[in-house]
Symmetry: C2
Subunit: 364 residues, 2 copies
């Protein structure tokens, strides 16, 4: 076994999910994630956890969904499983990123609605989502398998404790601040963050963070004004999207364009009342991620990028009792801030051309 697979498993079990003896764990394994599952099982055995291993095969799902008449029910046995679980470890890594491309949207949504109580039970556990590098993901990234594996482990096998400490500085600034101002060549955007909690997303349940890799600090902005260009290309609902431009007034998108994928953005904005409003401002701080691979788990955490999500805000960013932007969607759009760019909080420059104020080479 590639020793990095074992290190990945140990990072997941110890740093991320904080598994302890006697924990009831659900281990969810994608079609291509077998080798990581073996390594995670070894770590879980060594910690004395109890494990149920589920098979998250997209081909199995596709066959089931396409054959079903559409009157989905909430599975009582599945709900019972998750209600009694302490942790859920989701090992992604499929064999074909388009495995469910021919399941129609209505069926997908009906199944998702029936699964809502199960999803809530799962989200109430110490859940973590990670990914095993597969050939399908390498292909999506436009990379060789060998190079892609190097990329993935560079992103995942970080000194998370050190990164968490660094990110804590940005979290503090966002928690204390009232307004964020993002400026670059084609971007001039102001957002209120007053009263909102920033999350130091350090790839661990101990930090309210559920992705491995992570490495971003995010909050839930509102009252957005101005315009922004997202120059990092990505795939949204199967469509390639490039150079999205949005103009906000009173917190809402009032005009938009895109060099490609404009219809996809139009459909997205049209989803519901919350879709044209921001749910998230995230600042990527994982410098182990040095390229865009068309996988949001990695892209949004890349160092020297900022992302904004249209749609739903995370509860963790909201003070007790307050509700944030609500929507059926949450779609991240990413902008490169490595050049000709600055991020200000309450008028003070916090990041310029990718450098933070506590870093060497920062120019105020």
């Amino acid at each position: 076994m590639d020793n990095r697979i074992r290190e990945h498993a140990e990072t997941l079990v110890d740093w991320s999910a904080r598994i302890e003896s006697g924990d009831d764990v659900v281990l969810s394994v994608a079609e291509g994630a077998h080798d990581l599952a073996v390594a995670v099982a070894e770590a879980l055995g060594a910690r004395g956890a109890n494990v149920v291993t589920t098979y998250a095969s997209e081909e199995v799902s596709r066959a089931y969904l396409r054959a079903h008449a559409g009157d989905f029910e909430t599975s009582e046995h599945e709900l019972a499983l998750y209600e009694r679980a302490d942790s859920v470890l989701i090992l992604g890594g499929g064999r074909n990123t388009f495995a469910t491309a021919d399941v129609d949207g209505e069926t997908r949504q009906a199944a998702a609605r029936a699964k809502q109580p199960i999803r809530e039970a799962r989200m109430a556990t110490d859940w973590m989502s990670t990914v095993h590098p597969t050939r399908a993901l390498a292909q999506q990234a436009g990379m060789s398998y060998e190079a892609y594996r190097d990329f993935v482990y560079e992103a995942i096998l970080r000194d998370w404790e050190a990164l968490a400490e660094e990110m804590a500085q940005l979290k503090q600034l966002l928690d204390d601040g009232n307004e964020v101002h993002l400026v670059s060549e084609r971007t001039d955007l102001r957002m209120s963050i007053e009263g909102r909690n920033a999350i130091n997303s350090a790839a661990s349940v101990a930090y309210d963070s559920h992705n491995l890799p992570s490495g971003e600090v995010f909050t839930a902005p509102y009252d957005t004004e101005g315009e922004v260009v997202f120059d990092v290309p990505m795939t949204i609902s199967g469509a390639r999207v490039r150079d999205v431009w949005l103009r906000f007034e009173d917190g809402r998108v009032v005009d938009f364009s895109a060099e490609s994928g404009e219809n996809t953005i139009a459909d997205l904005l049209d989803t519901d009342e919350g879709a044209p409003r921001l749910g998230e401002l995230g600042i990527g701080m994982n410098r182990g991620i040095d390229r865009i691979t068309d996988n949001i788990l990695f892209d949004e955490k890349m160092g020297d990028t900022v992302h904004l999500a249209l749609g739903r805000a995370y509860d963790a960013c909201l003070p007790e009792g307050e509700s944030g932007n609500d929507s059926a969607v949450h779609v991240d759009l990413i902008t490169d801030v490595s050049e000709n760019s600055r991020l200000e909080i309450d008028g003070e420059v916090v990041q310029r051309n990718g450098r933070f104020r506590w870093e060497d080479g920062f120019e105020p």
Copy 2:
């Protein structure tokens, strides 16, 4: 998809497990059983069942078991899953029949003890066990992959309704009978079956049968006297066993030998008080199985064979309130009855040289 995979799935879901709309099903998928899982998921979707898919990977189990300190607990979340399931469909088919060969017996047993409540919950559902033909199983059978697949589907894709009707005749004779007498060149064995229920094992929960393929009628004999030779070679606990000879007095093995694997038989007989007594007399009636493949799921159902199991009797064979032979083991041994052989019930020949009394060519 090979259309036989789809027929296998439909046989499993409809004839065997009798799945109905709204049933909560656990689908357990071995490492090599992906293609069958896809076909079964399709059938389950079409019937409107609810599915949790588990990954029964022996490599995952091995890693977990070898790393564990041995103080296993019953997983509460796994127990909850099975307690709320209506049906459990177990799709066997590994990629290496020795995948867990280096897990020590003590660890295995400790894990099995902790899983006992889960096993009981699973056995209380409408569970079915079947197997997807894999290269590993072809190798174990000493066959090419293509030929092995033909063999498996010949065994599984039977006219089960017709076979169930034929087997009902033998069940009736065994239910009404008091003593079975098995005679061949080196075998002369008498067993009491008075008061015991025979099971018409027609590969369906509707027949108290949990294996696909099946095709045997079995009961729980006692007061065994005489001697028997098992001339069908098999693998028991990893050891090749050939030509086992047993002599019974007062229902108990008092002498034995084997051409190979004698130590394995000695260990087996030494397990506990119930191990040297018979738990099962089974008569193979599936003529789709025409060769021995060193897989008990198939071998014991082969037409023109009879098997006897040392150890535990099945509750289904016992009248309400009566307890049968109890043991931690249940090991089937098989004898060929196609030549120079007869099976009598209360002195009447029921089968001679493989032919039953209701078949053409039967000689009384």
